[in-house]
């Protein structure tokens, strides 16, 4: 097998996030344009300066990235559409970085955004994938709640996790969210409130679930020289991996595709788990964050419950995790959920995270997980980003 080439020379700049809204009368086009405009403004660029576009969205129908070029007046020489939900950010980053390195594009905008209109979430779920339509939706699986309930049930049996363990992730993320201006959740969450919440699909209760909402996230990928010439704070990619449909033989997903590639990720980045200053996991449910903490090498398989008991996951703690509040407290704006941790990580390592800034953050790990096609998420990805810090 060929050795992985480095991502050197590629800069990630202009992290942009719109506000998030529970319901919106606007379209995905509107949200995507809003985030894109914000990123361009930060970088001092005009739309015509872009020659690459990478897009992720579920609610753009009947348009795709192609239609959006005309809608938004863009003329890219490199175009990508990434239907990978929670893994879209990592995948977009990997592809855009390679395009910039190869000279196929010089400035790529990576954007993800979705709207959430009344009833649009239900309609999205009813035709999410063929296997879901055939074999999950008919069983009352109106969304991934029940899927993750099954996974959580099995994980609790195998690893001895308790509701309090999952609660630690949710409660500390809420603490982080209260320092972020964009998070939809504005009120504190106590462990008592977490444990007493309305049951949704046992053992999952209200605060284990993300709130579908409208919003968009964006960042730009360009050569380091270009970022320096424009005097933009930038992050670099120390390493990045992705994997799809891993461990298909496991009857229940208790590990993800990260396990197949994690050693190569650390080797590429020239560091180990202890060198990571903060972690952004994909957190549509706390069980999947625990799985990432294990599969990304921060503790052994089955040890995440103990790990979260022994660490402080807030921005001022010894293991800063989902520093902007993640999706659990920030909200899940469709495909933007696959970008939220990545965009926050760029802010963190460039010292521009404001109220959620982790002191001395120079190396962040970001992880993506997406597409519950039937009984498990198929896409996994992770990247290690580095920056000059605050």
């Amino acid at each position: 097998m060929n050795a992985r080439q480095s991502y050197e020379g590629v800069a990630l700049v202009a992290p942009a996030s719109t506000e998030y809204r529970r319901y919106s009368i606007e379209t995905a086009h509107w949200w995507i344009a809003t985030a894109l405009r914000q990123a361009l403004d930060v970088a001092g660029l005009r739309p015509a300066d872009l020659d690459g576009l990478s897009l992720a969205s579920f609610t753009l129908f009947p348009d795709s990235a192609v239609g959006l070029t005309q809608h938004l007046g863009l003329c890219p020489r490199w175009l990508d559409h990434i239907p990978m939900g929670g893994a879209a950010g990592i995948v977009a980053l990997r592809r855009a970085a390679r395009a910039v390195q190869a000279g196929d594009a010089s400035i790529v905008a990576c954007v993800a955004g979705d709207t959430n209109q009344i009833d649009s979430f239900r309609q999205l779920l009813s035709s999410f994938s063929r296997f879901a339509t055939d074999a999950a939706y008919p069983y009352g699986y109106g969304g991934p709640n029940a899927n993750f309930a099954l996974l959580t049930d099995r994980y609790m049996q195998e690893c001895g996790a308790t509701r309090e363990d999952f609660g630690r992730i949710c409660v500390s993320q809420r603490q982080n969210a209260l320092k972020s201006p964009r998070a939809v959740m504005k009120k504190p969450l106590s462990m008592e409130q977490y444990l007493a919440a309305r049951p949704i699909a046992d053992p999952i209760a209200l605060f284990d679930c993300v709130m579908p909402c409208a919003g968009a996230e964006a960042f730009l990928v360009m050569p380091v020289e270009e970022a320096e010439r424009r005097n933009l704070p930038y992050a670099t990619i120390a390493g990045a991996i992705e994997r799809h449909n891993a461990h298909a033989e496991d009857p229940i997903q208790l590990r993800g595709g990260w396990t197949m590639d994690i050693d190569e990720l650390y080797a590429q980045a020239g560091c180990g788990p202890a060198d990571i200053d903060l972690l952004q996991t994909y957190d549509d449910y706390p069980v999947i964050s625990m799985m990432q903490i294990e599969d990304l090498g921060f503790c052994a398989k089955g040890e995440a419950p103990r790990f979260v008991r022994e660490h402080d996951l807030t921005t001022t703690g010894d293991f800063p995790h989902n520093t902007s509040g993640g999706q659990l407290s920030g909200g899940q704006a469709g495909a933007a959920g696959g970008f939220i941790g990545l965009v926050e990580a760029i802010r963190q390592v460039t010292g521009t995270a404001g109220g959620t800034q982790v002191a001395g953050a120079r190396r962040a790990m970001v992880s993506g997980f997406g597409m519950i096609n039937y009984d498990r998420g198929l896409c996994t990805g992770a990247a290690i980003l580095e920056g000059a810090g605050a």
Partner: protein, 416 residues
């Protein structure tokens, strides 16, 4: 143990009747194989002809060897429950109204991992056997059942929502003069049915069955002539709001095809009873039943047609009659579409020659009334759409599926 279902109290006519909602209907063409198997109560999954892998969910290509040669086959339905959840809310209205709803992940001994409904008596992480049933949308779904039967297991609300169980339900049998009316009424009462109404045409004519029927407790004989639109409408006006299962057993049969008869008198009568009779019943009783499919314990649930298996292929000795049965079969398919939005199920019971006067010249095997009644009630309890009752009907459907043209030729050359 399942809590036994209690007989419902008398309905309060001032309360609004719940509008029917359905579980999700959409399926890929491949997945419809599960529905076809569930219509007959069979447990089948796709098997790869090249490498033998058992596949689920339904695919167009094998996920082990990429073969596209996949076939639905009967495989072992046994497995173990690996994880479960009780869904307490759903974006889907049907499940939202029926929450809490138990579902889980079952790994079958033959390999596949299956998300399915879970019966209340299944033990946590226990051994299970999967049943393939039609849900109220008429699509095949899998439900994990305890390996050994448990008391009142048929009363589990999730299972009952898929079946047409006659327990506590009120039934109309269309024709009291049929040889099978008494056997069907007895089998229904044994299965726990509520009141059984039986229609009788031309009450002034002597009915040798009447005394036997009147002896069955809970049976009420009422005037009904399926060839008379007004008679059908009058009975629907009287009892249409409390018919949960309608069994159309009316039929008219005379020997012969076109040439042997010389005129169309018998053919007209066959169509009047066997085809138009079904249509009159559907027009009079169908709308009321469709409106009552979410009406609690004794909601309207099934429409049953007793059809000759010669609806599938003509038996020339009964050529005219076969044609009327083919017409009724075609209409029953239309009714499935027309009833679909309500979840009211159409079950066709196909029979071969029966033990009665008009089948006297035909050789055995023949279907006795008790066998018909047994298969009919079992079909309701399993929520089936198609029941093949007796050796002749089962033989015919097997040959029909193997090759309809070959079967037609066999029938027309006297090899039927």
């Amino acid at each position: 143990m399942t809590e036994p279902l209690k007989s419902p109290p008398k309905k309060n006519p001032q309360l609004r009747t719940s509008a029917p909602t359905l579980p999700p209907t959409m399926r890929s063409r491949a997945a419809m194989g599960l529905t076809a198997a569930a219509a007959e109560g069979r447990f089948m999954l796709q098997v790869c002809a090249d490498c033998g892998t058992v596949l689920y969910p339904a695919r167009d290509a094998c996920s082990r060897c990429l073969s596209t040669d996949l076939h639905w086959q009967e495989v072992s339905p046994k497995g173990r429950l690996l994880a479960e959840t009780t869904v307490r809310t759903s974006t889907n209205l049907y499940f939202r109204e029926r929450a809490p709803w138990r579902t889980g992940t079952v790994q079958l001994d033959v390999g596949p991992v299956i998300i399915c409904h879970v019966h209340g008596d299944v033990e946590r992480n226990g051994r299970v056997v999967l049943w393939n049933r039609l849900d109220r949308a008429g699509q095949g779904v899998l439900i994990a059942m305890p390996e050994q039967p448990t008391p009142n297991m048929e009363d589990d609300p999730q299972l009952r929502a898929m079946t047409s169980d006659p327990k506590h339900r009120r039934v109309l049998i269309a024709d009291a003069r049929s040889e099978n009316a008494a056997a069907i009424a007895r089998a229904l009462k044994k299965a726990g049915a509520g009141q059984v109404f039986i229609g009788e045409a031309e009450a002034w004519r002597p009915n040798p069955m009447r005394a036997v029927l009147e002896d069955i407790p809970g049976v009420q004989i009422l005037p009904l002539d399926v060839t008379d639109t007004r008679s059908v409408a009058e009975l629907a006006g009287e009892i249409g709001g409390k018919v949960d299962i309608l069994i159309n057993n009316a039929r008219f049969l005379r020997p012969g095809g076109a040439l042997s008869r010389g005129d169309t008198v018998f053919a007209q009568q066959e169509m009047e009873v066997n085809y138009l009779g079904l249509m009159r019943l559907a027009q009079a009783f169908g709308p009321g039943m469709c409106a009552r499919t979410a009406d609690g314990v004794n909601s309207a649930v099934a429409w049953v047609n007793i059809l000759s298996a010669h609806a599938l292929v003509s038996l020339p000795e009964l050529g005219g009659f076969s044609a009327s049965q083919a017409a009724a079969l075609s209409l029953s398919q239309s009714l499935r579409a027309e009833f679909r939005a309500s979840g009211l199920r159409v079950m066709n019971v196909f029979i071969g020659p029966t033990e009665d006067d008009w089948h006297q010249p035909l050789p055995p095997p023949k279907v006795p009334p008790e066998a018909l009644a047994r298969d009919l009630v079992a079909g309701l309890q399993a929520g089936l759409e198609d029941v093949y009752c007796g050796d002749v009907a089962r033989d015919l459907i097997e040959r029909f599926r193997a090759g309809a043209k070959v079967l037609e030729r066999e029938m027309t050359t006297g090899q039927g």
